[in-house]
Symmetry: D2
């Protein structure tokens, strides 16, 4: 059931994981990105999601990045650490490490090479939750995970497992938001993970928006969320209209590649993504630069 | 270009990776499975594919399984070792290990958390091929990998990269088989990885069929392939009709779970799949048992 | 040459690494130990030395422990993180991780399975130092490392390599302390790592004492060091006389086993050491309890 | 008690682990070394001892090397695979892998950062033995391991633990050989691991000699052992006199460095040892070349 840990709401910002030229974690750049997110008004920080190239890090690098993020934030914002792993044992180990290092909550996607059954997904999440005492945010993203969890499945996980308290929904289907609200009678904090749906989702009652966009345009994201909070529909619409092309671009090109390219354009050298991902081409960087400029309005 | 290594054809059999009760690799059961595949007339063995739970093994377990398979076969059949990994560096390392241990060829799927661009896929495969001297089989399976490589892309990889010599196509779209044959003027050995398409694919000129079914019904698969080879369409149709429900069941339920359950039913205790995968229920095992019986005809 | 980082002096306290019942890192107990060391007046904290069972941790656990220590201290005291590893590449990687996580300095012992030549030791330390910008403390302990570095070798490393700035000497030979002072004309901060030599070493000009004893008797160690600092020989002698039997016991029994047993006796459950190390027997614990009591005076 | 596995005797040859220029395992060179050892009349092959740089390999490389050795030998000679690891769990895992890959026996040294108690050593070996069904050779080498096991301790391990069946003694103290024979009433196969003691040890009843020398001078080692076996003391003395300077050199310089240098001199490029180990200098290689020539007589 939604419990004490479920106090996260608003803009949940996703940092990339910067690499040095020799392929290690670039802590200095990571800290610059985190400071930008904090200064830009983010409500929580979610390291080691897909934007953070979590799937491409070995467990030591993952631990190093989680620790560096939590330590540098020093309690300024809550953290929701991505602990997705192909095996249940691996995800539970990551969850324990995250808790030990001081994470506020963890987030998990049922990534799987194989189509999992409903029971397999349930047992997977139960095992992660049982490994820790901090809250778990379950995450549905069929495009990435290959598994689609219905609003009912998501709600039942929250209802039945003590420290599963939040849901992140990334299908981009607004009806699911409505269903989550109805099923939970409004008690479930659900987060939207689909950038194009940000405006609609807040209007449907989403507790927050999980997005990497504040890495590049923190002020616009803050202006948008401020408008949402004070019920200023006109401004929210206007800002969202301006940032939408950028949102679409970074998702389509791939978040690590696009956000790292955009960080370089905005003064934070974040290195290249890890192969097979390739850095943005010059043409892509030019387009991105234009979109960043255009988003300011 | 198709080169010396491309002498693999026929039934490419996929063993599961059996685990002991404490979670380690069960070499004894693995050897029993391999002997059944050899005795059943398989043409090649493909360990550490998705059936082999490759994605759920750590690199040491992966190495242990590759070595145990190659060693136990002792040259009786060629091996096509799955080296898929999320990172390019990881896939190249696996390819080098497989070659060092005596694999005949390697197979790679462009698994990725992120949608890769055509150029990213190409560079990924080129890096794997450049790491070794043995042939590479490129594998297209959008349902698992999240990326769909067109026949043209697949053919260009074979045409342009020296030791990429074979293609495995698992979309289940027979038109792609025809395209591969036409694009390559009949020079490209392509393999079908979609069980329901086995009959049609051979008729479209496939060099082989990649399948885990011989783990459970080696004699039926052999009878089917013998009929194909001698052009006995009637028998091929009849056998395929009998085994199709089983093929459909094991794919739908998930190959590791279903094949391990079926092995237990047919005298080889192969343990449970690794979590999040769950073992087959009693009802599923009963259904599978009936399907195995029915396949004999 | 001794540079900015070389401001560490006094009691360099060595925490153990506590394990939970299922073998993971026990962050809660680790934090209790660290707080005791800070409250007890330690001057610096040196996690992941031999007391910290560094050699028995995998790299992820090592990273987790380094991060948890640095995070929990939050700048209250400088840290000197042990980065010893059998391979040069491994030690350099640990050094980079420690620096990234915010360590004040690193310490390295030339642990080796093989007797290293003087040139091999020199290249090893140079590679570690080259990997980072924070200071390196080189550590001589032939009993553990199997290699004995002479005062001349140690001094030359400090003199010739930019960020090697400190020496820890654990042979228990007071003459080496005198030689280090003479060779460096008093400019080299050297630390004593031999518990029985603590008093003599300070009198020979040691900058500090590296010891796990404050885990168990922080007040006595503080009283001893306060007396040393104010030149109160009589008190220093008296306190040292009282604590010496305890110092001898914990070294002889093995620091992880003895200190973990002593922590349990003094209110901090720190779990068992990792096998092959065994926990203290009841008789050993009883003896240790008496020695702790006797040390209070 | 000495059981079926204890049929290893004679020259137990230690291959180095060759690396490619980019630091991976060089399987081709490894196979050349193994063929030389087999052709040179070795009785058994002991990969992954200290000569094999086992301590410098990660677990995947260790597995790869064990598998490649066992596969390439293909049953021509029994294998005794080194499974030493700092932790008990690590050594037991290696033992299970070795058994799974088809090793004839395993060998373990109680390597430890900390001085282990007699009980800790006993429990460590019991855990390794309990993990497998193949024989265990316990190995005493205080110079490397930092722990000295008395003949009585060694004998009691063999007497009390089912599949501990052999002892390797490397102190170079001939009296220990006599004690082992007496304690076991001649039933215990003990092996000498001290090169300078080879002649004396065989005369004291040693079952075999564990040595890397056949990598460089297989014919001389065979001539020596043939003379031992037929009781031709004069020839044994003469040959041993000629090879002794070489034996001394390779031990003193460090076996991986010296043997790899010697292999290059005798036609097998084995690459460099892993850092911190450095390759032999030109002067050392010249000296080694002379010693190889002189050993022929």
């Amino acid at each position: 059931m939604p419990a004490s840990g479920a106090t996260i709401s608003g803009i949940v910002a996703y940092p990339i994981t910067p690499f040095t030229a020799d392929g290690g974690i670039d802590h200095h750049s990571l800290h610059l990105v985190l400071d930008r997110l904090v200064d830009g008004g983010a409500s929580a920080i979610a390291p080691l999601g897909s934007t953070g190239e979590s799937a491409y890090l070995d467990l030591t690098e993952w631990t190093e990045t989680a620790a560096s993020t939590i330590n540098h934030l020093g309690g300024r914002l809550p953290t929701v650490v991505g602990v997705s792993d192909l095996t249940t044992a691996g995800a539970a180990r990551r969850a324990r490490i995250a808790e030990g290092l001081g994470a506020s909550a963890v987030m998990a996607l049922p990534v799987s090479y194989w189509q999992l059954t409903a029971l397999e997904v349930q047992k997977h999440f139960e095992a992660i939750a049982a490994a820790i005492d901090i809250p778990v945010m379950v995450y549905n993203n069929p495009a990435t995970a290959g598994i689609d969890l219905s609003p009912t499945q998501l709600w039942e996980l929250v209802r039945d497992v003590d420290n599963i308290t939040m849901v992140k929904e990334s299908t981009g289907d607004i009806n699911r938001m409505h269903q989550l609200r109805e099923l939970s009678d409004g008690t479930l904090p659900f987060f939207n993970g689909s950038n194009p749906l940000a405006l609609e989702a807040f209007r449907a009652g989403a507790a927050g928006w999980c997005t990497a966009a504040p890495c590049l345009i923190p002020d616009q994201i803050r202006a948008f969320y401020d408008a949402i909070q004070r019920g200023d529909d006109e401004t929210a619409d206007a800002v969202f209209g301006r940032i939408q092309p950028l949102l679409k671009f970074i998702v389509t090109r791939g978040l690590p590649t696009a956000v790292k390219s955009g960080l370089a354009l905005t003064g934070i050298p974040a290195g290249e993504p890890r192969r097979p991902l390739l850095p943005a081409t010059e043409a892509e960087a030019a387009e991105l630069s234009d979109l960043i400029t255009a988003s300011v309005g």
